[in-house]
């Protein structure tokens, strides 16, 4: 049992030593909150470790970790938007049922956007967040996703197009 614990912490220490800085920067830019970024990084590493135990190390560890981290961050953003909406609805209740379209609208809008981003195919979702939240250039996006620059460009293009089509619908 103690062997497993040692093994676990060593493997996580390795992932952290190799990818920690990049992943922390990515998460922090997505959620814009240091404490949340730390929780999500820890979560990402534990998920990765569990998957490693099952599957063994994948071909492109870096791209795979980016995927896990991006999904975790988008879920967090969605949950938080939902929470805020619930709080705001609760706060409005005693007042006039008509309510106002003030800050609640903004949060709802953003929640809807993240929901749609979260609904994108995985590679499009990661490519888009690297482009928009991390403000990376295409060669860097390609390096993190383990694909060609053209593929990275295509993924971002398709993501934006899909969001636009859904936005108009």
């Amino acid at each position: 049992m103690s062997y497993l614990i040692v093994d676990h912490s060593q493997r996580v220490a390795r992932l952290l030593a190799l990818h920690g800085i990049e992943l922390a920067r990515h998460l922090r830019r997505l959620v814009r909150d240091d404490d949340a970024a730390q929780d999500l990084l820890q979560d990402t590493l534990l998920r990765a470790h569990r998957a490693l135990t099952r599957l063994g190390s994948g071909a492109n560890e870096r791209a795979w970790l980016y995927r896990i981290a991006t999904n975790a961050a988008l879920n967090w953003l969605r949950d938080r938007a939902r929470e805020r909406r619930a709080l705001e609805a609760h706060a409005r209740e005693p007042a006039d049922a008509d309510g106002d379209a003030g800050s609640g609208f903004d949060a709802e809008d953003r929640a809807a956007l993240w929901q749609r981003v979260a609904g994108l195919p995985q590679r499009q979702r990661v490519a888009l967040t690297l482009r928009v939240a991390d403000e990376l250039e295409y060669p860097d996006i390609a390096a993190r996703m383990g694909c060609t620059e053209a593929a990275a460009r295509a993924n971002v293009y398709q993501a934006v197009r899909r969001l636009r089509v859904e936005g108009l619908a």
Partner: protein, 203 residues
């Protein structure tokens, strides 16, 4: 989108804090962090660099990232390691200058805290040998305080964590032959020739 973009430096500090706190939570360990990076495509292949706050702690000849990381985890496993590709600018710059032949001596703080006793004295004596000069294993053993310990001096040099910058390649056998080298003898020969020391051998 970013009305007030924080400075790159502030962001890097915040990012490092996140990684360090995560390391402490996950491993239950702490300690002073080491920042590491690779320097690829040098005339002697890929170099792995690592530094603590105290100074440059590793310059190693490495095959790839994975190998260097394994080596670091082995040597510093208790301490958090931060992969900061753009870090260690000063060391990188001085190594570039060295390889270009513009400036063969280094002015860098070196962290030899993993080395102790006679080995440390050997490396300290070695660090004082200027480019273009060489010493024998017996010479450096004597300078470290024990003239008869040339075999121990050889071991200390073999385990030098800061290759090139602590110039263990400048130590030869008394007969002028190369002796050994952790990075392989062709690299030792290249470094000595680059410094113009080979022709002169043991002065």
């Amino acid at each position: 989108m970013n009305a007030k973009r924080e400075s790159g430096r502030a962001e890097e500090r915040a990012v490092e804090r996140i990684v360090l706190r995560t390391f402490a939570n996950v491993t239950g360990r702490g300690g002073e962090p080491l920042r590491w990076t690779l320097m690829t495509d040098t005339p002697v292949g890929t170099l792995g660099l690592a530094a603590s706050e105290a100074g440059l702690a590793q310059v190693s000849f490495v095959k790839n990232e994975d190998r260097f990381l394994a080596q670091l985890l082995d040597a510093y496993g208790e301490r958090p390691l931060l992969h900061v590709p753009r870090a260690l600018d000063d060391a990188r710059h001085q190594l570039d200058r060295y390889f270009a032949g513009r400036h063969l001596d280094f002015d860098l703080e070196v962290d030899l805290s993993t080395v102790a006793g006679f080995s440390l004295k050997v490396l300290q004596a070695t660090a004082r040998i200027p480019a273009g000069r060489v010493l024998s294993y017996a010479d450096v053993a004597r300078r470290a305080g024990n003239a008869r310990a040339s075999r121990a001096a050889g071991n200390a040099l073999h385990n030098n964590p800061v290759a090139i910058v602590v110039p263990c390649h400048r130590i030869l056998r008394s007969d002028g032959s190369l002796g050994g080298y952790g990075g392989g003898l062709p690299i030792k020969e290249w470094l000595l020739e680059h410094e113009g020391a080979r022709a002169r051998a043991l002065a």
